[in-house]
């Protein structure tokens, strides 16, 4: 059952990615029009869609920083210590 479901999802990857984009847009709309931000701790959290921007920048930033860090001699061959 699990396998069939996953196969079905994999067969419709394009629709799935569109659904994902729609979901992000929906979340943005909810953030801008619905959520009461009275209890936010900082001014920047009142910026429309702040956490979406934050998530995207941080997600991309972490991957890029980690890869850069790995290239500074941190990543070595597996037999390095042997």
């Amino acid at each position: 059952m699990i396998v069939e479901f996953l196969d079905y999802l994999r067969a419709h990857l394009r629709a799935l990615s569109r659904l994902g984009i729609a979901f992000i847009v929906l979340l943005l709309c909810i953030d801008i029009f619905v959520i009461d931000k009275q209890h936010a701790h900082t001014a920047i959290q009142h910026f429309p869609g702040f956490w979406t921007i934050f998530g995207f920048v941080v997600g991309a930033g972490l991957i890029i920083v980690a890869k850069w860090f790995g290239r500074q001699g941190i990543r070595q061959k597996e037999d390095y210590y042997d």
């Binding site: 699990i2 992000i24 979340l27 953030d31 997600g59």
Partner: protein, 594 residues
């Protein structure tokens, strides 16, 4: 402290169970016994350990307290004995008793630390913990795990000695051995030393390298136990004596992000999980440093949730390793058709760790972040939220994608071996998954156990919206940068490089210069020393035999006989010297403490 009456220490149940295990026969009765022991220990913690002080024993000048049960120790003892049941069920297929014995002694050590009321008892049990857990690494029986086990032992011996130095200094200064909150606003030297001792166990940088080193090399079932106990016991000890120690906030945030960076780079699935332990511990260490009621509640709650979801993730990745013999992403991929149930369990653990609504991390991690914002430590709040985005990235996207989806990098043989694991492993994962969802969905279960009365509500529209936005945007970033997440067959160097290389340097020193000098000395001795010495001794031998013995007949032989007697008596003397020095050592320690 006053004894509140009779009480059975749960560690006693586990230790007695471990010692009886080899005597129990085979088959179903044995399996029943194996499950019964941790269940009894859990019932003991859950039902028969009301709050109070138990097991107070007078030992020389000190009152040792084996059982201090309050809200704080209760919640940790509860989740640890629960995890012991899950881990035991997961290990039920193991034929080797010794693995189970080591695991139970290890849990007994952790429970002993949690319930200890003074530093001596705490020290005793933390040494039991270190020495029994190293066997969980060695039982993997690979050359790598042997070396790793020794490194682990060395690091924890070092940590234990630092802790010992800290509490002995404190005892000298205050005459107090009780394990209670230290004055964190006016820290003395011993406060810092005790902190460093606990930081080793909590894997706080720069003392963290043992953690990924060990957990990735431990046996499949051993890692499930190890990931739950050592570090969370350390979090408990930090909460108990160093709540509000501000420097821990900085350490915590660094830790949370450090673990994320290394986890993103990692190629071995269990090593990735080990890095993620470090990252998640960062939240708890940070909570300890903030030290408010909300932060301490958050640290306890997150430790509770963490033990269960991290156990679940280690069980999931352990299942893959157990079935296929592979744990590297470069050897895996596309397994979902072969191991669908394992995938579901791993996803429950991953979603819990990434703190999505209805999963356990959502209701616990946010308490610490909220505590940071409430204390106006905005960099902490944002720093930890960054780590949360990173957590989602490597555990919800990278880990399942590289193991179960995408193009497979697995060999034909690996693919053939892959299947969902035996029933007991699946049952253990199902129990773990149940608790992950239960904690996240029915909050009073965990919130009512917390040390302080809880006023925090995770399910506000703002919090749900924030979490979902961060997660969805991070997923989008991952999708766009997916090529960068492809695994490479490499390892990451870490701070253990320094001691591994220092060890190698020492080895080189012994092997090359010292051995060369030794050889030279040998050569010089042979040339200059030995030749003339032989000549001289030959002369004296001739002189002795012919001149002296000729005069005083037989006296040399008499001396030789006497020499034999002296030699024999000296053997006895050496034994006496050993015992005298041992007793002297004990007396010296007693004198220092008196």
């Amino acid at each position: 402290m006053i004894d509140s009456g009779s009480w059975l220490h749960p560690s006693v149940i586990l230790m007695v169970g471990a010692l009886l295990l080899p005597l129990i026969g085979k088959g179903a009765a044995k399996k029943a016994f194996i499950v019964l022991v941790p269940v009894l220990a859990f019932i003991d913690v859950w039902q028969y350990s009301p709050q109070g002080v138990y097991g107070v024993i007078q030992f020389m000048d000190w009152k040792l307290t084996f059982g201090r049960i309050d809200k704080l120790s209760e919640i940790f003892a509860y989740v640890m004995s629960l995890m012991c049941i899950i881990g035991t069920i997961y290990s039920l297929h193991e034929e080797d008793d010794r693995q189970m014995i080591a695991a139970w002694f290890y849990v007994a050590g952790s429970l002993g630390v949690i319930l200890a009321g003074d530093y001596l008892v705490l020290f005793l049990f933390s040494e039991i913990m270190a020495f029994s857990s190293v066997f969980l690494v060695w039982f993997r029986r690979s050359p790598k795990s042997i070396a790793t086990g020794f490194r682990y032992l060395l690091v924890h011996t070092f940590g234990g000695l630092v802790l010992l130095a800290g509490f002995v200094l404190r005892y000298k200064a205050t005459g107090d051995l009780s394990f209670t909150q230290l004055d964190v606003h006016n820290p003395a030297l011993y406060t810092y030393i005790i902190m460093v001792g606990f930081m080793v166990n909590a894997a706080v940088p720069p003392l963290h390298s043992w953690l990924p080193d060990t957990y990735a090399e431990a046996s499949v079932t051993g890692a499930v136990f190890m990931c739950a106990f050592t570090t969370k016991t350390a979090i408990y000890t930090l909460i108990r004596c160093l709540a509000g120690m501000e420097i821990l906030i900085v350490f915590g945030v660094i830790m949370a992000l450090y673990g994320v960076i290394y986890a993103i780079l990692e190629n071995d699935c269990r090593r990735l999980l080990a890095w993620s332990i470090m990252s998640q511990l960062g939240y708890m260490v940070c909570g300890v440093g903030i030290g408010t009621e909300l932060a301490i509640n958050g640290a306890c709650a997150h430790a509770f949730a963490h033990i269960l979801y991290k156990g679940l993730l280690f069980m999931g990745c352990g299942s893959v390793l157990y079935m296929t013999g592979k744990s590297k992403f470069t050897d895996l991929g596309g397994l979902y058709r072969k191991m669908p149930r394992t995938l579901v369990y791993i996803m429950v653990g991953a979603l819990s760790m990434a703190a999505l609504p209805f999963f356990s991390g959502f209701v616990t991690k946010s308490m610490i972040i909220a505590a940071g914002f409430e204390e106006h430590l905005y960099w902490v709040g944002f720093g930890l939220t960054m780590a949360s985005a990173g957590t989602f990235l490597y555990v919800c996207v990278k880990l399942p994608y590289l193991m179960f989806f995408g193009e497979t990098r697995a060999s034909e043989e690996t693919m053939q071996k892959a299947a969902d694991p035996p029933w007991n492993m699946q049952l253990a994962m199902a129990i773990g998954a149940f608790f992950c969802i239960f904690i996240g969905s029915y909050t009073p279960f965990l919130y009512n156990m917390l040390p302080f009365a809880n006023t925090f509500n995770a399910y506000t529209p703002m919090h749900i919206s924030e979490t979902m936005q961060v997660v969805a945007a991070t997923a989008l970033a991952c999708y766009l940068l997916r090529r960068k997440l492809q695994p490479t067959a490499e390892i990451s160097l870490d701070l253990d490089w320094f001691y591994r290389m220092a060890g190698r340097g020492f080895f080189w020193l012994a092997k090359v210069p010292l051995q060369t000098i030794d050889n030279w000395v040998g050569v010089i001795y042979r040339i200059i020393g030995l030749g003339p010495l032989m000549v001289i001794s030959k002369f004296w031998s001739w002189f002795d035999w012919n001149a002296i013995d000729g005069t005083i007949d037989g006296s040399a032989r008499g001396v030789r006989g006497a020499g034999g007697v002296v030699r024999r008596s000296q053997d006895g003397l050496q034994a006496s010297i050993f015992w005298a020095s041992a007793i002297g050592g004990v007396l010296l320690i007693a004198y220092v403490f008196s």
